[in-house]
Subunit: 183 residues, 2 copies
DNA sequence: CACTTTCCTGACCGATCGGTCAGAGACTGT
DNA sequence: ACAGTCTCTGACCGATCGGTCAGGAAAGTG
């Protein structure tokens, strides 16, 4: 039996609920019941409901920052290919956190605490368009990225099945260089 | 000054709010304030909060059913091309309703009232994959469709700019026939 | 004119929301 | 044995939630 700290368990359960039914759609009571503790215990570990979300988002923000750092000294085409692959892997690894960044964070559009992660998401969007700046390419990138995050949330498919399929659709939709993608 | 019925105004405002911050994230009070009537007025026109959502979704369901009917007697490739184009136009015309179908309805997974529209969405998904049945193609279709709906919600772009871009990304990602798409 | 229907309001209801607080139990170092 | 810290609980708080209800203003209808 693995000993998991209550704090980690809260984050796991809350991330799952937030991603499935939204921030407002999840009550502290819901989380507490699934964790198996009292509502007051949640508020012992976190200063408030919003702080739980913040902790989850900051996990995603760190992962996103690492990804962007690896893209820095590459040329546009290499960075684009790498960004696509790393983005898919990131989303598959942090399914819930990614869903939060793309689904619930935008609802807090005036919250300064989320500026960082949204800025990172914008940079990543630029990377997967190979910094083209073309509005149509940006729209395409956002379509694919939002789509990937959405599909990754529901557990109809597992990661092994999802990864090649998502990589293929992303490359088809986003890479415009003459040579074609391989499966 | 155009006279709009309170009922239509409620649907407009509620659709907007539901799509932006979710069903649970929108209170009847919020809707009433923006409509400019009392909360009780909402409940005079609709039997409950959920009935407002239901009315909005049934609008989408009707539009979706019309789309599917046009696909019936076509061969797979023609139906696929038509489905993609009609889907984009449908989403651009019913932005809020489409967002509801793809974002908030799945949160009510056990609600029989939504079975119809979800079934329609599944059929449409099959159509845009040219009925291939290949899991990878289904994943691709769901990615693109979810992405399109997501991008269409926020009003960063207008329909005129969005339409060609969405059509292009959808065709690139989903059409596998040897001949390529044109812009 | 009286009568009905349509549309809407303000007051109110119980339930649930996020959050506070005093204190209990377990463990640690002295 | 004692004090202190960490983790957690049950009782409780004011605010807000979705929803109900009696009744009023306005507009048709006889």
């Amino acid at each position: 039996m693995v000993r998991v700290s209550t704090r980690d368990e809260i984050l796991r359960v809350a991330g799952d609920q937030f991603a499935r039914v939204g921030f407002k759609g999840t009550s502290l009571q819901d989380i507490a019941v699934e964790v198996g503790c009292s509502k007051a215990a949640l508020l012992y570990h976190f200063a408030g409901k919003e702080q739980i979300l913040l902790a989850l988002v900051s996990t995603a923000e760190t992962a996103l920052a690492d990804l962007l750092a690896d893209l820095d000294d590459r040329d546009d085409e290499t960075a684009q290919a790498l960004a696509i692959e790393r983005f898919v892997d990131l989303v598959l690894h942090y399914r819930r956190e990614a869903a939060l960044v793309y689904e619930v964070v935008p609802q807090f559009h005036s919250e300064p605490a989320f500026y960082g992660v949204l800025q990172h998401a914008d940079k990543l969007c630029a990377a997967v368009t190979a910094r083209s700046g073309d509005p149509a390419e940006i729209i395409a990138a956002q379509t694919v990225m939002h789509g990937i995050v959405n599909v990754a949330i529901d557990d109809k498919w597992d990661a092994a099945e999802l990864r090649p399929a998502l990589l293929r659709v992303a490359r088809r939709a986003l890479i415009t260089t003459p040579h074609h993608d391989k499966d």
